[in-house]
């Protein structure tokens, strides 16, 4: 509501005026907010809910397939890999400052998950890996604290907590062995205090942050720790070793066991994604951006290619944002930034044209190497991430067309790179328009 309230001469109602409005609070949106703040603009972030970031691995992927296999429309091609790597490095710095270091291959400071020089990681010196609940090695790039997989061939002991849902150390061990019965992989299980039957991973993670409870659990684990494993071995635990205080919990386990400790990614509800989402949110707060969750952007006013205002609606009411530049980071189909109407896919806020790849929406195989067409649906943009016909709108993350983050192993990288660029472009627009940055 921007008209003057009749009975109140000067109060304009729920109208806010950040310089940059970021629509969407996922990885791309938050990175855009950080970038815009770094460049000195005032930033507000609005988001409908939490979401895809929590569900993911808590690590940032870069690229798991050859670069030249990517099509022309791929966001990496739009930006160029040197820009992508710059943004990833910037993101790494921000998270380090926020107390949640994400490092290629794991930390090199001799911490609990030191696996040697950065990049020594996973398979033949390739990118870092995390271990999944099937015992598979899944490549990634920036690894969350305590999640780096030990190099193949290192002795591994998989430790489980009986009653923890969706985890069985035998299955992880079998996967890690990869059919080789002589592989140095063993496993064990303890009962948690109280022998609970059905433990929620987030509940257990929270409990392990309590010193007394943790001491008890560590003692039980120590009892069954195989004697013959030395410092060069790694103990793999399900990823429940704490929430925000995960590093301290991981270190406590590592110290008591005298082994490296690393975590195994679980199916949702999974803790590492939650940790990253919360760390990111703290970083954005620290940077001084305003974050409102629970407010879906429902209306946009555009005049001559300039976005004038965006209205969010939620239980708190309708709030009008009049910003100078806007970043659209609402996600793709999964994040609900692209919606379906009957059988067609739309971008509902600005009505941006949505590019749908030719041919069948989905491959007959569930996990085709080339990925699925429907995952690549999105909005097409120019090299500065602007959709056609708009001068102050930038699009980033899963809303963009042209990539399959799961098949290509590039989800985090695209979000961080396009988010960073979108945020910087938005701030540059603000500065260029003569708006003083604050």
């Amino acid at each position: 509501m921007t008209e003057r309230a009749a009975g109140t001469p000067r109060f304009r109602g729920r109208v806010r005026r950040p310089q940059v409005l970021v629509i969407g609070g996922g990885l791309a949106g938050m990175t855009a907010a950080l970038a815009a703040r770094r460049a000195g603009a005032s930033v507000a972030v609005v988001a409908e809910g939490a979401g895809v970031l929590e569900l993911a691995s808590g690590c940032i992927d870069r690229l798991a397939v050859p670069l030249d296999s990517l099509p022309r429309e791929h966001p990496y091609r739009l930006l160029g890999m040197s820009v992508v790597d710059e943004e990833l490095a910037a993101f790494q710095r921000v998270m380090e400052e926020a107390g949640w270091p994400l490092v290629p291959g794991g930390p090199v400071d001799g911490g609990a998950t030191d696996v040697g020089p950065a990049g020594a990681g996973c398979v033949d010196g390739g990118p870092a890996c995390v271990i999944t609940a099937l015992g598979a090695r899944r490549p990634t790039y920036l690894v969350a604290p305590g999640m780096a997989a030990p190099p193949p061939g290192d002795p591994i002991w998989v430790a489980g907590f009986r009653g923890l849902r969706d985890f069985h150390p035998a299955v992880v061990a079998a996967g890690l062995r990869g059919g080789d019965p002589s592989a140095p992989v063993t496993w064990g299980e303890i009962d948690l205090p109280g022998s609970p039957e059905d433990v929620h991973p987030v509940a257990l993670a929270r409990q392990l942050e309590d010193e007394d409870y943790r001491r008890e659990v560590i003692e039980r684990v120590r009892q069954i720790r195989p004697r013959e494993l030395g410092e060069g071995a790694t103990a793999l635990f399900p990823a429940v070793l704490g929430l925000t205080g995960a590093r301290a919990v991981q270190d406590a386990f590592a110290g008591a066991l005298g082994m490296r400790v690393s975590e195994i990614l679980l199916p949702p509800p999974s803790v590492p994604g939650l940790r990253l989402a919360e760390a990111l949110r703290r970083a954005v707060h620290r940077a001084g951006a305003d974050v409102a969750i629970g407010a879906r952007a429902v209306e946009a006013t555009v005049e001559d290619g300039r976005v004038r205002r965006v209205v969010t609606a939620g239980p708190g009411g309708r709030i009008t944002y009049e910003a100078d530049a806007y970043v659209l980071a609402t996600g793709g189909l999964l994040g609900n930034g692209l919606t379906t109407e009957g059988r067609s896919v739309r971008e509902p806020l600005f009505g941006l044209p949505v590019t749908v790849p030719e041919g069948e929406l989905a491959d007959a195989r569930f996990l085709p190497e080339e990925g699925h067409a429907f995952v690549r649906i999105g909005v097409t943009v120019d090299g500065r991430l602007r959709p056609p016909g708009f001068s102050n709108l930038f699009v980033c993350g899963r809303t963009l067309a042209g990539y399959d983050p799961y098949a290509e192993g590039c989800g985090g990288g695209v979000a961080v790179a396009t988010g960073g660029v979108a945020g910087a472009e938005a701030a540059r627009l603000v500065a260029g328009a003569g708006g003083e940055t604050r």
């Binding site: 598979a136 899944r138 969706d166 299955v171 039957e197 199916p267 009957g342 059988r343 569930f366 429907f374």
Partner: protein, 546 residues
């Protein structure tokens, strides 16, 4: 020495096996996949009142009316007596409606006109353009439970059932059929089984079986597509009151709603592909009756192949009678030891079985009368087991569990009563660990699909994205499978679930599809199916009617 071998583990075959067993015949059933692999699990699940045949095929209609009442009585565990409606839309011919009402009455089908205000209250999602509505005793029947119940009853009387055994040849002694040659689909091993009489109840494959004895049997494979909607859109079966055609029926079954169907003759009875045009056509037609069908979430789409018996092929397959025939090949073609049954529909399975077994009994010199119309298939659920279940999972869920496991309730209740037995594995359908373990122990070496077909694992909102993995872990914990088997079991389970999800993809389900794909790829790093393996080879089973 076996007296009879029944080929085909669908409704007809299972019904025949039970009837044989009740009449004291020593019999075995062989089935190429899991039970209910074929059409009986891949149709709309309607227990016909007969209304759909009243005008065009009054004899079928009459049969349906009678058998509907019988099936409800003998198989209450498999029937949801939701009732049915026929609704005429504004654009449908009112004179057809008149003829229909008269024809129903003629055929003995109870028909009652429903006042439109009451209709709007009870079925609020139906289109505004409904002009007339009639209630009939349609019901929704669960093909799996029906077949599993018949099989359990037959096994209790000494019959044998061999699944995952494909008939690759008939044993012949001159012009006499003496048995079957089977190939174990999982191991590739072949074995022979001999009997006095072979009964060909192979449904859409019946023609292929008959050809093994060089006998002609013209079974037309007619493929129909069905959509599975995520929620329950109607409380009753809703038919369109016009000449039977495509996309004219909604059948609620449990927590989902089926919309069907189409009719396309196909040369191959294994062709269960789902053409996009037929999906679109179904949505368009369905939306005429129920507008939300255009936008509501579609979980899956699947196809089933109807086995139609007709002496002419091609043309409009709806014109071929859905009545059935029993062919005594000795009389017809001079080939002894082989009887075939073709055509028909699930609602009249018991009648078909009766007619077949009458012919078989005559050959075998068995004089015991048929009792399948009177005898309930299974005894009522053990009250002690029910009480135990109520105590364990509450009254609501106790009924659901009892319906799912009518033949083995005490064992299932016992398994749920073990430590951890009450843990919910499939949250969408509230399937407990005890149900899965109890079922798995009865099967020996089950795939996740075998468990799904018996417990509804993975048939709800998440389509197995979360619960497939959890179920596999449970089987490892119970020592039913090895840890090393988990990746390939999961790959097969997910591939089969994907087949159905992909068929109906578009609309709201795209998000769920992306989530399951993301979890499999990025969170679990699940392996794809090994190259060269098909879903069938790993999953071994049907995927429909869920």
């Amino acid at each position: 020495m076996l007296q009879a071998i029944v080929i085909g583990g669908g409704a007809t075959g299972a019904g025949i096996l039970r009837d044989l067993a009740l009449r004291g015949v020593k019999a075995a059933l062989v089935e190429q996949g899991d039970l209910v692999h074929g059409t009986s699990s891949r149709y709309h699940g309607l227990l016909h009142s007969g209304g759909r045949y009243a005008v065009k095929d009054p004899e079928s209609a009459r049969e349906c009316a009678v058998e509907n009442e019988i099936v409800r009585r003998i198989a209450p565990f498999a029937v949801e007596p939701c009732g049915g409606l026929f609704v005429r839309l504004e654009q449908d011919d009112p004179s057809y409606a008149e003829r229909w009402v008269a024809a129903c009455r003629e055929a003995g089908i109870p028909v009652e006109e429903v006042d439109l205000d009451r209709l709007r209250r009870e079925e609020p999602l139906l289109a505004e353009s409904v002009r007339e509505a009639y209630a009939v005793p349609d019901a929704s029947v669960d093909g799996w439970r029906l077949v599993q119940g018949n099989v359990a009853a037959a096994e209790a009387l000494g019959a044998r059932v061999l699944t995952y055994r494909k008939v690759v040849g008939l044993l012949m002694d001159g012009s006499r059929v003496t048995g079957v040659r089977l190939r174990n689909v999982a191991t590739g091993e072949e074995e022979c089984l001999e009997a006095e009489l072979v009964i060909n109840a192979a449904g859409a494959w019946a023609g292929q079986i008959a050809a093994m004895a060089s006998v002609p049997l013209n079974v037309v494979a007619d493929r129909g597509v069905l959509l599975v909607y995520h929620g329950r859109l109607t409380s009753r079966v809703v038919n369109r009151l016009r000449k039977p055609g495509n996309g004219d029926i909604f059948v609620p079954t449990g927590s989902v709603t089926l919309l069907g169907t189409t009719a396309t003759p196909v040369p191959d009875p294994d062709d269960i592909s789902v053409p996009q045009e037929e999906v679109d056509e179904l949505m368009r037609l369905g939306a005429e009756m129920l507008p939300m069908a255009a936008t509501a979430r579609i979980l899956r789409a699947f196809a089933g192949v109807r086995p139609l018996f007709g002496s002419r092929s091609g043309g409009n397959t709806r014109e071929i009678s859905r009545g059935f025939v029993v062919i005594d090949h000795a009389a017809e073609h001079g080939v002894q030891g082989l009887i075939s049954v073709a055509g028909g529909k699930l609602t009249t399975y018991r009648l078909m079985a009766e007619k077949v077994v009458d012919v078989a009994a005559a050959h075998l010199g068995v004089t015991a009368p048929c009792r399948t119309a009177e005898e309930p298939i299974l005894p009522p659920p053990d009250p002690a087991a029910i009480q135990r279940l109520i105590h364990l999972v509450g009254r609501d869920r106790a009924q659901a569990v009892a319906d799912r496991h009518p033949a083995s309730l005490p064992e299932i209740a016992g398994a749920i009563d073990q430590p951890g037995g009450r843990q919910i594995v499939c949250e969408c359908e509230q399937v407990t660990a005890g149900e899965l373990i109890g079922t798995a122990r009865q099967l020996g070496s089950p795939s996740l699909g075998d468990l799904r077909r018996r417990t509804r694992l993975g048939m709800g909102t998440c389509q197995g994205g979360f619960c497939g993995y959890r179920a596999a872990l449970l089987l490892v914990r119970e020592g039913i499978i090895e840890a090393e088997q988990v990746p390939s079991m999961l790959a097969g389970f997910q591939a089969e679930r994907w087949r159905g999800v992909r068929g109906g993809l578009g609309g709201m389900e795209l998000r769920a599809a992306e989530l399951n794909y993301a979890l499999a790829r990025a969170q679990l790093a699940m392996e794809p199916l090994p190259a060269g393996k098909t879903v069938e080879m790993i999953e071994l089973g049907g995927a429909g009617n869920d």
